[in-house]
């Protein structure tokens, strides 16, 4: 199929950017969106132009690096997929595709479609861990009984890949879905309870320092999240915060 791409081009973090139009042809439906971008970049390089910078790593939906706001939605029009898992068959021949970086002041654009998601790392460092002795005396994880239902919910929360689609999608650029997934994954397990209070306070505090917006429960994040992280995690984080403050 033949497509028209409108892509955000930005020299570096300080330069202003703009949308630039590129026609592209001979795209197959089974290609992934990133393969399509590779083809575009090959063509640009051959013409001696600067290729479009975009983030990617695993290309199988597990690392969370690929981003892009495609046709008005984070990770494009498909559900429960990352951009690397998005197939070109989701688009029609002759269609115009708008491609923009994830937008939030807390995710500054580095170049073209690449943004700095270091804010997530700093939130994670503020409390997204448990302190265990790893000097060789580690307790066997299975020696702690955990109800299956809790283990499943914790696992669901732990599938968050930190991609930032929730922030990119949210009208308030709120990071609540991400932070709540990280808080929940530990809050549900006995190993995580020990530091639960400090964790939620520190992670929420860091989230606020980073300048993310306030959640208004629109639910857009849950719909666009490639891993289907549930809003219930946000409610759980709010409960954890109330408990920690009380």
């Amino acid at each position: 199929m033949n497509l028209t791409l409108k892509i955000w081009r930005q020299e570096d973090a300080k330069s202003p950017g703009k949308m630039v139009t590129y026609p592209i042809s001979n795209i197959e439906g089974h290609m992934s969106f990133l393969e399509m971008m590779d083809i575009l970049n090959d063509e640009l390089i051959e013409k001696g132009e600067e290729p479009v910078a975009f983030d990617h790593d695993c290309r199988e939906g597990i690392c969370g690096m690929c981003s892009m706001y495609i046709n008005g939605e984070a990770h494009g029009p498909d559900r429960r997929v990352t951009t690397c898992q998005l197939h070109m068959r989701m688009f029609k021949d002759g269609e115009t595709i708008h491609i923009e970086p994830f937008r939030a002041n807390s995710f500054p654009v580095l170049k073209d479609l690449m943004v700095d998601r270091g804010a997530f790392d700093r939130i994670q460092q503020a409390g997204g861990y448990i302190s265990v002795n790893t000097s060789g005396n580690t307790q066997d994880a299975n020696s702690l009984p955990i109800p299956k239902a809790d283990a499943d919910l914790a696992m669901d929360a732990a599938t968050c890949i930190g991609c930032g689609a929730c922030v990119a999608t949210c009208k308030n650029s709120s990071a609540m879905l991400f932070v709540s997934a990280k808080v929940s994954q530990y809050a549900l397990l006995p190993q995580g309870r020990v530091e639960a209070k400090d964790r939620v306070l520190n992670m929420v505090n860091q989230m606020d320092i980073e300048g993310f917006g306030n959640c208004t429960n629109t639910g857009a994040c849950e719909v666009e999240c490639p891993k289907g992280i549930s809003l219930d995690n946000i409610a759980r984080m709010n409960r954890e915060l109330i408990k920690a403050k009380a």
Binding site: S174, D208, C215, N217, A220, I234
Partner: protein, 227 residues
């Protein structure tokens, strides 16, 4: 921001609590208003009680006024903060694919309700305050010098709804309040961390959000047609 006493979530929870309080108030207000349709005498008696009882006047009323101010000021503050979190907007965005218009536009429905509250305060509250505390007439009578003249509340209420323009403004405002509550009801539970019974809360919230404003509209139209 980090030094602020309340986290963003803390502010959201306060927002939810004030919204919750306002919804309770709405129910109480509706109950009394319904009396104006069912029995003008009862409406008059309750109005006189509410208007002169010191607990209502000097404890509940200030709490209500505080809640209203807190709710809309915090709502505006949060909205401004949220706008600042993304200074470069998307060139092309399709928010309708993942969220409802009402959930994204609480500030619009809220501000219309606020404008209505302005009119409403002017219509009833300012008048009450002027008569009672300005004029010193706590009698609630049509003619304060004539004990047999009867209470003035029902008569004044009906008089307000003679003007069709006012009735239309009331109706429009309540439609927007209904939209505000359709998101707000369930949103306040989510903010307070309640996720058990989510589906029931949503359904019940929709019933509440439609029924309560609809009954207020019914009362306004009823008096308009009755006079």
């Amino acid at each position: 921001m980090s030094k602020s006493k309340f986290t963003t979530i803390g502010r959201k929870i306060l927002m939810a609590l004030s919204g919750f309080f306002l919804m309770f108030f709405l129910l109480q207000h509706l109950t009394i208003n319904m009396l104006s349709v069912v029995s003008p005498d009862m409406f008059n008696d309750v109005s006189q009680f509410m208007g002169t009882n010191p607990v209502v006047q000097f404890a509940l009323q200030p709490v209500l006024i505080f809640a209203v101010f807190f709710h809309f000021i915090m709502g505006i503050v949060l909205e401004l903060q949220n706008r600042r979190a993304r200074s470069i907007k998307y060139a092309y965005s399709k928010p309708g694919t993942n969220s409802s218009w009402i959930s994204r536009n609480m500030i619009i429905t809220g501000l219309v309700v606020l404008a209505f509250l302005g009119l409403h305060f002017y219509d009833f509250w300012v008048h009450e305050m002027t008569v009672k505390y300005g004029g010193g007439d706590m009698s609630g009578l049509i003619n304060p010098n004539d004990l047999d003249s009867g209470y003035r509340y029902h008569e004044e209420l009906v008089a307000k709804f003679v003007d069709p323009v006012r009735v239309i403004i009331y109706v429009i405002s309540f439609v927007l309040l209904s939209l505000h509550l359709m998101h707000g009801f369930q949103s306040s539970f989510q903010s307070m961390g309640v996720s058990k019974g989510k589906n029931f809360i949503k359904k019940f919230g929709n019933v509440f959000a439609i029924a309560v404003p609809a009954l207020f509209v019914f009362i306004a139209i009823y008096h308009h047609l009755q006079h």
